[in-house]
Every structure is written in structure tokens, then in C-alpha cells.
């Protein structure tokens, strides 16, 4: 497999349907999320070390990886729980700063949300994943002035006050 110098042409692969499940610990107030491929998303409370995780919400969602159609390189995106459109709600937010950089173009900043919503562990979406997502979502844009910028959620100032629009099927599971 030759990947050096490849001008990647990404396509979605390993598309998985399931639920984005969000849990919170009432002890430390951190939040986590994970992707469940179970037919019914788990809602049970459980203890994990010092944490007491409780179910907060779940939404139908999908996960995917990216694969280059030219060199077959695959970029796994298991850590991406969902994407979110930045609504520029807080000038002190790192995502707001990115969205304000390119005023001449129609730039839309999307945040790749990782599982570790509160970033207590310091981990987030990988640089390789962010790079591939940017290339994938920009490769077919018809308007030359339009630009999609995908950034990791570690840039976000606060999960509690963020007004971003999460690309998940909010409310669909409440029908059942």
C-alpha cells in the first residue's frame, strides 16, 4: 500500500447505526458519551471507581470511518461521537476564534465531539481524524467561497453554555 504523497479522496466506510448515549456523574459533574450499537440504548446507572454514572440522554446517531479510494488508507473515527455546527455564541471560546478567522469566505465551523465531553482525561479526537474530516467535507463543495472547518471539541470553552447545533436525531427516541 502506498500512502506517501497521496492526494486522498475520502469516502465513508464502516458506517454504523446506533445511539449516542450521554451520561453524567453527580459526584464530579463530568459528562461522558459513548456510541452504542445495542438495539436499545443502555439507561442503567453504575459505579466506576469514584464516578457514579447516570443516563442523561440518548439520540439515534451513526458513526463512520474514512477510507481513501486511491490508496486504501483508512482513518478510524470511533472516538467521534457526533459533529456540531458552531453558532458563535461565546467570543471567549476557542471554536469562536476559529470561526472568526476567515471573514472573506463562507466558513462554517463544525466541532467533532469526542466521548470525553468534559475532557477530564485530556484526550480528544486525533489530529489525523480531524485532517481527514476536513478533507472529506471540503472535497466536493460547489461554492468556491464556501469552506467547512472541522475542529476538535477540546477547543470548546464550555459544554454547559455552548449553543452549537449537534447533528444527531434529537427527540426521535422519545417517540417510543
Amino acid at each position: 500500500m502506498i500512502t506517501v504523497g497521496c492526494n486522498h479522496k475520502w469516502a465513508m466506510t464502516n458506517i454504523r447505526s446506533g445511539y449516542l448515549v450521554i451520561e453524567g456523574c453527580f459526584h464530579c459533574r463530568n459528562r461522558i458519551s459513548f456510541f452504542s450499537e445495542e438495539p436499545v440504548p443502555p439507561v442503567d446507572d453504575y459505579q466506576e471507581g469514584d464516578h457514579f454514572w447516570s443516563h442523561l440522554a440518548d439520540f439515534q446517531a451513526s458513526q463512520f470511518d474514512l477510507k481513501c479510494e486511491k490508496c486504501s488508507k483508512e482513518v478510524p473515527l470511533k472516538e467521534v461521537m457526533a459533529t456540531m455546527l458552531c453558532m458563535k455564541c461565546n467570543p471567549e471560546c476557542g471554536v469562536f476564534a476559529v470561526s472568526s478567522q476567515d471573514r472573506d469566505r463562507k466558513t462554517w465551523v463544525y466541532v467533532a465531539l469526542c466521548a470525553n465531553t468534559s475532557h477530564a482525561s485530556g484526550k480528544c479526537v486525533t489530529e489525523e481524524g480531524i485532517r481527514a474530516l476536513n478533507e472529506y467535507f471540503n472535497c466536493g463543495l460547489q461554492d468556491p467561497l464556501k469552506k467547512i472547518v472541522v475542529v476538535p471539541c477540546a477547543l470548546r470553552k464550555s459544554v454547559d453554555t455552548c449553543h452549537g447545533i449537534v447533528l444527531a436525531d434529537v427527540g426521535l427516541t422519545e417517540l417510543y
Binding site: M12, I15, S17, Q60, A61, S62, F64, T83, M84, L85, K106, W108, Y110, F137, G140, L141, Q142, D143, K146, I148, I165, V166, L167, A168, D169, V170, G171, L172
Partner: protein, 108 residues
Amino acid sequence: MKVSELVEKAGLKAFNEQSDKDIQGVYISDMVSDIIGMKEGNLLVTLQTHKNLIAAANLVDVAAIVFSRGKTPAEDVIALANKVGIALLGFDGDTWTLAKKLCALGVG
């Protein structure tokens, strides 16, 4: 086919005015988690009228969105569509009737 031509030929209602994009194909879905896999330039036909859908449609660069069964988007949804430059259209009949009409017009 251009969006404006489709509006006229299929008898669609326009909820806003946006640039007249070329329609490359048609995608029918009511799930945000599904439409993020769409190809660019498609006409999205849906029943959903919430803001999440507009955010997803912008990410995949749709030509326009058609709400079937007479669904009407709220003002804040139209405002977001205007901001990202997506034309919102309406069709009074059901999705299957619209799909047949689009096929007959050679769209997609």
C-alpha cells in the same frame, strides 16, 4: 436542472430566496444521522423541519431542501437556512408523490 426550474415545474412553495443551485440528484431521508452521508448537490426531501437538519444539510452542501406533506419550517429554521444559504421548499403532497414527480421531471 436548476432549483428555480424545479420550483416552477413541480409546483413547489419557496420559503426563502437563495442562490439558484444545480440539482445533481435526490436523497430522501428523515434522519440527520443518515443525511451526513449524502453526496454534495443533492436535493434533500424530508419531513423533518428542525434546525439540526439544516446544520447537517449545510455540511453536505445540498442543492435545496423540500419539506413534503405540507410541513412548514419555523422562523428560526428559515433564519438558519438563510444564514448558510440553503433554499427551503415545500410540497403539499406526500413524499412518494413527490418522488414520482421528480422522476417524471428527470431529476436525479
